[in-house]
């Protein structure tokens, strides 16, 4: 079942999925990458995404939900245009990760896992994002920002707000 009528995805992504399912000995192995790509395109894993992915992989919706709920990086609600993920794992914590997180909360006026009313920013506390040597670090969409200080965070967030930094998914020409 590699072609789906009325796919909810862009033709490019649909084509990518058509190929993806052929790469594994069992189709359902494509489930996690599919959910990630779908989330990048749609913004979150919506009910429609669950249903189409299940259909593509010959799974029940329930199987998809089961896997989906296991991974904290997959979300079922829309995030802001800029999803700010602040690391508070060991290295970052030791170097002021919580301060950065608190600063973001204050600056954006939202709590962890919330989105600003204008839909521009959302905030998330995350585990290690693999940038420990330059801790504290945060990730905005797919862009890394490290050796952070509250001032530096202000600067970065202002630039996003002004639309001056494009993250890599947008650079890819979406």
């Amino acid at each position: 079942m590699s072609t789906i009528a009325n796919s909810i995805f862009s033709p490019e992504l649909a084509a990518r999925f058509d190929k993806l399912v052929t790469l594994y000995p069992v189709k359902r192995s494509a489930l996690v990458p599919m959910l990630l790509y779908a989330q990048d395109e749609v913004g979150y894993v919506s009910e429609a995404v669950i249903q189409e992915v299940a259909q593509r992989l010959d799974l029940f919706d329930l199987d998809v939900r089961s896997v989906l709920s296991y991974y904290s990086m997959l979300r079922t609600k829309p995030a802001g245009k800029y999803n700010v993920q602040v690391c508070t794992n060991i290295s970052c914590m030791l170097r002021g990760g919580y301060e950065i997180l608190d600063h973001c909360k204050k600056k954006l006026g939202i709590e962890n896992k919330q989105t600003t009313p204008d839909g521009q920013f959302s905030l998330e506390e995350v585990e290690c994002i693999g940038d420990c040597c330059s801790a504290p670090a945060m990730q905005v969409n797919y862009e890394f920002h490290d050796e952070l200080t509250p001032d530096k965070v202000d600067e970065i967030l202002d630039q996003y707000a002004a639309g001056k930094i494009l993250d890599s998914t947008q650079k890819d020409g979406k």
């Binding site: 009910e47 029940f60 919706d61 329930l62 939900r65 089961s66 709920s69 296991y70």
Partner: protein, 813 residues
């Protein structure tokens, strides 16, 4: 695999290499506790309760996943092992609500048992417990999340056992939870629901009280009920079930249906009907007083004495003035064998008529005659769990014989059985089939012919001739075959299929019918042209053993009217009396009630059905859960029925028939040969011989009889007196009494006499086809279903229209 010897707690045990340690220990009498392990389901190793110490292995091992090999040494009871189990319990109890005093599982909870055994530890958790509200997933399945110990038994039984996949785990770590397949955000009421077969298997396997049933929850405690092992009344599979019974003001009420000892033909299984749909028995719509129609046309409640006198007098008068030939009798598919036998004997020997029939849901006459002269060719339900190859032609077991479907799925999953399915519809079981053949509409006869080698039948049999040919090749290459036949096949078509099957040496057959005792009704001779045991009615020949029954009955020697002919007779004014016992032919055959306006109609029923509503006398009847006797399932497995529920005012059909005969002035001793001496060959008064080691003083005997729901005095209402006669006279019913009385099933093969040439008898090919399949689904049960509140709830329960995974259309009635 080769046997190996291992040592467990110093004891040498020999078992096949590769067996699971937990099972090996169990058969050696060493108990290893387990929560997630469940025989027959995939291994999970999630709970760590089964840990044991293995010599030379650094860590404790889980016995549920350890496969044994030569020379291994295990310890299952050391302080270290006990401490580890205690720690597991401590963790499981960390967030457990400990509401045992109100929990349904209290008293039969595996977690409770283990805590008793290993002792409650101090809890290191100081945090408040994380409470979650209970969830109603469906009318019958409730979930109490904090009680769940995440053993995944429910998830596995639903997916592997049921092939429904309605349950799964969501989230991770300590927030993991079992969820149903319809999430809250997709339902109109914003609550999560189950879209499934509602079998309750998940509740059954749940070791704790996390999953509870809508019919039983918070009603009683296990030790406050009596537990009666009997047979489910709903479908032709005849599952063994244990009913939990409690006394009430007007009798006793059934509060639970359960598969408690799992020793029956249904192994682990009960479907939603067996588990929940006992509630018709407690329905407030039950008739509990005899009703007699008054000159003003109304039905009026009268005493039993008055009603029976009225029936007896009228039956005798009509028989004597207008002749037995003008009386018609219809029996039910849920009577016991003893009642069915007694009813036809009463019709033939007291009413002097062969006009007796029942609503036939499968053609057992053709089945028996096709197997005449063979031995060992009829299969037991147990064989659906073990046969290496199964051919299923017609039928839809998932809906119509759920236990058969469960066994077939288990057989395919656990034993790698090959299942071949030929059906006009894409039935759900095709998901387990090695080959599925789409049969053309009305193509079963042609299919049988094609299988037998008639290639010209191919294009009528199936649309895809290549698939058809390879299907036949696959079947013919099997060395032995279990052939299950749906009730879509009958008469000549059925015979053709059986004739083909008989050419394969190890083939066995079963014909699937719709109700608990459909097979028994046919075996016991509720047929106009057959005496019990498929003995054709014809001229009596004193030398011929098959004339024995007719000789004893002194019944008419010409076949009577069948069900439809009885109604035709009514239409032409030739039916003086119509006696219906536990059947609803008016609705089932869409008969115009006006047809019977000049007929004296007597109906024994639980409810005011369409048939009861037009009766002149309605006699309130007990149902199968309220009487003793035996039933025979579709396969010929004979089982004991024990009285569980009780309702003041009703009587068993057995008693009522005897009382009517008595009121007619018949010799009751001839009808029911009770008492130590009898002119009909005598019953053997049970004075101890069936009790084996129990034999002893007379008072103990009475206690034993009572415990087995037998009449302590041998009275004319004792079905065992009729069972004696069945055993003595009915071909194929050579019963092992002790086997029956100890609650075990035994398999009987139909023993039709080979058809005699030129005897002028009705042959399969010219017999009228009167089979009318009930077409029941999981949530219907003939005329009974609508009186079960829970089945009605389930039928109407629609968590979300688009997701329904199974076919649940309403039955025709």
């Amino acid at each position: 695999m080769a046997d190996v010897t291992i040592t467990v707690d110093g004891k040498k045990i020999t078992a096949p290499a590769g067996s699971l340690l937990i099972e090996v220990c169990k058969s050696a009498g060493i108990e290893i506790p387990a929560f997630c392990y469940y025989p027959g389901l995939s291994l999970q190793a999630a709970c760590r309760m089964c840990v044991v110490r293995q010599e030379k292995v650094p860590k404790l091992q889980t016995a549920c996943t350890t496969q044994i090999a030569e020379g291994q040494v295990f310890f299952t009871d050391t302080p270290e092992v006990i401490q580890a189990r205690k720690a597991t319990l401590q963790m499981l109890l960390g967030n457990h609500p400990l509401d045992c005093p109100v929990c349904d599982a209290g008293g039969e909870c595996e977690l409770q048992d283990m805590t008793f055994k290993y002792g409650a530890a101090d809890s290191f958790y100081a945090e408040p417990k994380n409470h979650r509200e209970e969830q109603k997933w469906s009318p019958v399945v409730y979930f109490d999340r904090p009680r769940c110990i995440l053993c995944y038994r429910c998830v596995r039984t639903c997916s592997e056992g049921m092939d429904v996949f309605a349950l799964a785990v969501e989230n991770r770590g300590s927030s993991s939870t079992i969820v149903p397949n319809v999430p809250a955000k997709l339902t109109p009421d914003n609550l999560a629901h189950l879209d499934c077969e509602q079998c309750g298997m998940c509740i059954d396997v749940c070791p704790v009280g996390a999953l509870t049933s809508g019919t039983y929850r918070y009603k009683t405690r296990p030790w406050e009920m009596n537990h009666v092992a009997t047979v489910c009344t709903h479908c032709g599979d005849g599952c063994k079930t244990t009913l939990g019974v409690r006394s009430t003001a007007d009798g006793s009420e059934i509060v639970r249906g359960d598969n408690r000892d799992k020793s029956g033909i249904n192994s682990d299984f009960l479907c939603n009907k067996g588990r929940y749909a006992f509630d018709f028995a407690n329905s407030s719509e039950r008739i509990t007083q005899p009703l007699v129609r008054q000159p003003n046309g109304e039905l009026k409640a009268v005493s039993w004495e008055e009603a029976l006198t009225c029936v007896g007098k009228k039956f005798a008068e009509l028989r004597d003035t207008r002749g037995g030939k003008t009386i018609g009798v219809i029996g039910g598919n849920r009577l016991t064998n003893e009642e069915a036998y007694l009813l036809q004997k009463f019709a033939r020997s007291v009413l002097h008529t062969n006009n007796i029939d029942h609503h036939r849901t499968a053609d057992y006459v053709a089945f028996a005659q096709s197997l005449a002269g063979t031995t060992g060719r009829a299969a037991s339900l147990r064989e659906t769990l073990t046969a290496p190859a199964v051919l299923l032609v017609g039928g839809d077991p998932t809906n119509q014989s759920p236990a058969t479907a469960w066994n077939l799925r288990s057989n395919v999953r656990l034993n790698g059985a090959r299942l071949y399915i030929a059906n006009t519809a894409e039935i759900k079981l095709r998901r387990q089939a090695s080959a599925f053949l789409q049969v053309a509409e009305y193509g079963y006869g042609a299919l049988a012919a094609f299988l037998a080698g008639d290639d010209s039948a191919a294009n009528i049999a199936a649309p895809d001739s290549a698939a058809l040919a390879s299907f036949r090749d696959a079947i013919r290459s099997e060395e032995s075959l279990l052939v299950l036949i749906g009730n879509d096949l009958r008469g000549a078509e059925l015979k053709r299929l059986i004739d083909f099957g008989l050419t394969i040496p190890g083939t066995k057959f079963a014909l699937l019918a719709d109700y608990a005792n459909s097979r028994g009704a046919a075996d016991m001779g509720l047929l106009p042209d057959m005496l019990p045991g498929y003995t054709p009615i014809g001229p009596i020949d004193t030398q011929d053993p098959s004339s024995r029954i007719a000789l004893e009955y002194r019944s008419p020697t010409t076949p009577g009217l069948d069900l439809l002919e009885i109604f035709e007779a009514a239409e032409t004014g030739n039916l003086s009396a119509f006696y219906v016992v536990g059947s609803n032919p008016i609705a089932r055959y869409a008969v115009d009630p006006a047809t019977l306006k000049n007929t004296f109609v007597v109906v024994q029923e639980m409810f005011l059905t369409e048939t009861a509503a037009i009766a002149d006398v309605v006699l309130p009847a007990a149902n199968l859960y309220e009487k003793s006797g035996s039933v025979t399932n579709s396969y010929g497995d004979l089982q004991q029925v024990k009285k569980a529920g009780d309702r003041a005012g009703v009587r068993s059909d057995f008693e009522t028939i005897v009382r009517i005969a008595d009121k007619m002035g018949a010799d009751v001793r001839k009808l029911v040969p009770f008492g130590p001496v009898s002119n009909a060959g005598g019953t053997r008064a049970d004075m101890g011989q069936t009790r084996g080691a129990q034999s002893g003083e007379a008072d103990r005997h009475a206690v034993w009889l009572t415990a087995n729901n037998l009449e302590p005095r041998l009275s004319p209402f004792d079905p065992s007196a009729i069972l004696d006669e069945i055993q003595r006279l009915v071909p194929g019913y050579e019963i092992l009494r002790l086997q029956l009385l100890s609650g075990n099933d035994q398999h009987l093969s139909p023993a039709a006499a080979p058809i005699r040439d030129n005897a002028g008898l009705v042959q399969i090919s010219n017999r009228r086809d009167l089979v009318l399949p009930a077409g029941d689904t999981l949530f219907t049960s003939g005329s009974l279903g609508r009186y079960s509140a829970i089945l009605n709830d389930l039928r109407q329960f629609r968590p979300r229209q688009s997701l329904i995974q199974i076919d649940v259309q309403t039955a025709s009635d």
